[in-house]
Symmetry: C2
Subunit: 216 residues, 2 copies
Amino acid sequence: MKRHEPAQDIETIVKDQDLIGRRHAQICDAALKLFSQKGFHRTTVREIAEASGLGIGTLYSYIKTKEDILYLVYRRILKTFEARMLRVTSEIQDPRLQLKAALEETLRIYDECQDAVRLLYQESHALGRRGLQGLFEVDRTYVGIFREILERGNRAGRLAVKEPHLLAVCLLFLCAVWDLKRWNLQGYTLDVVTDSLTGLVLDGIGANRSVAVHPA
Amino acid sequence: MKRHEPAQDIETIVKDQDLIGRRHAQICDAALKLFSQKGFHRTTVREIAEASGLGIGTLYSYIKTKEDILYLVYRRILKTFEARMLRVTSEIQDPRLQLKAALEETLRIYDECQDAVRLLYQESHALGRRGLQGLFEVDRTYVGIFREILERGNRAGRLAVKEPHLLAVCLLFLCAVWDLKRWNLQGYTLDVVTDSLTGLVLDGIGANRSVAVHPA
DNA sequence: ACCGCCTGATCGAGCGCTCGTTCGGCCCGG
DNA sequence: CCGGGCCGAACGAGCGCTCGATCAGGCGGT
């Protein structure tokens, strides 16, 4: 009945909360590496235990099932992403520029953490209902960052977005193209993709337009 | 050394080509249903055999490994999608409208075949290198449909797309948001999403613009 | 200071089972 | 009776997870 974390936590045998935190971090680091390389199903619990420097039994003192490990990894990834986004967007005022910066940072994150993003999309169905709901909560606050940018832009009259939440989801998703369709994008650099996407989002597929629209 | 199919085919024990075709169709239908419900890993070969009305041994006369089944399913899905896209876009002239129609039809397909699309994105890593390359080929021609629309629009001066291939990949990918982020889009209807996406693509996040841009 | 005790973290051999794949026999048309 | 298609019992590798043994250190009584 402890209430440090809002999200539902994982049942453990070990009781020392601080120790749990450190061990979970160990496990996450090892598991992320392995999952990225071989996927969730092909990675055995034995391998995770070995890679994180724990015995199998010990590992199972900090989780209940293999699925728990995936959940831990996911939560860690999303928290990290969220933190980076907040850091970047908080320094900008102009909504259009803020949106641009958010897109650029998201793409930069997704470029650095391709494996994590691919994992997020490919293995999420391995989570049970409980795990998915936990993820959903974290994802909502993440999407919220984008939605707020759009809404602020609306209020300031600098944007005209009818469905801010829907569009926030779409934009965030669109950035993942760089990770999930990489095989189809060989030859393109991150810069080119970033330019194309921000251009698309801000101005659409431009043509039949005599005057430039962007303020910068 | 048969040459009916450009893509690499699957080794079989049975020799009658016509029979192989029919059985493969049976297997695909059954497997797609099961994979959609439970995912690739949780579906057993036994279940597929039963659902397709074949014995296990018989099933293995038409494939070499379980992975082959996934490959068969994927090829079937993509071929179907491709056919529907060609049928719709071939009747329209104006590039902007053609692009709009292509987006709408893609979203409609993705709405009807959510399970298939999710499968396509979530389980593709279960394929080996060989299978992925086969898929890649099919996907290229699929993306090609979109790219050609964009390129034709460029030539006609109705669009100004710097990177047609890149953008084609992005647009196609964007449509998948409706399937892959459904949990985040509860409450939205297909129509609303379609409007928002076509709006985004054609005009960007509109604001600071006095006149309407669309011709229709 | 020493000892005995107890709690709680650690460990990995092994259990029980699932699942992909094989193989030897069966059926039936020609 | 021969061969091509069909069948499913049997195999065995590999997996997640358990559980009894082990160890380290804190604590209290003498």
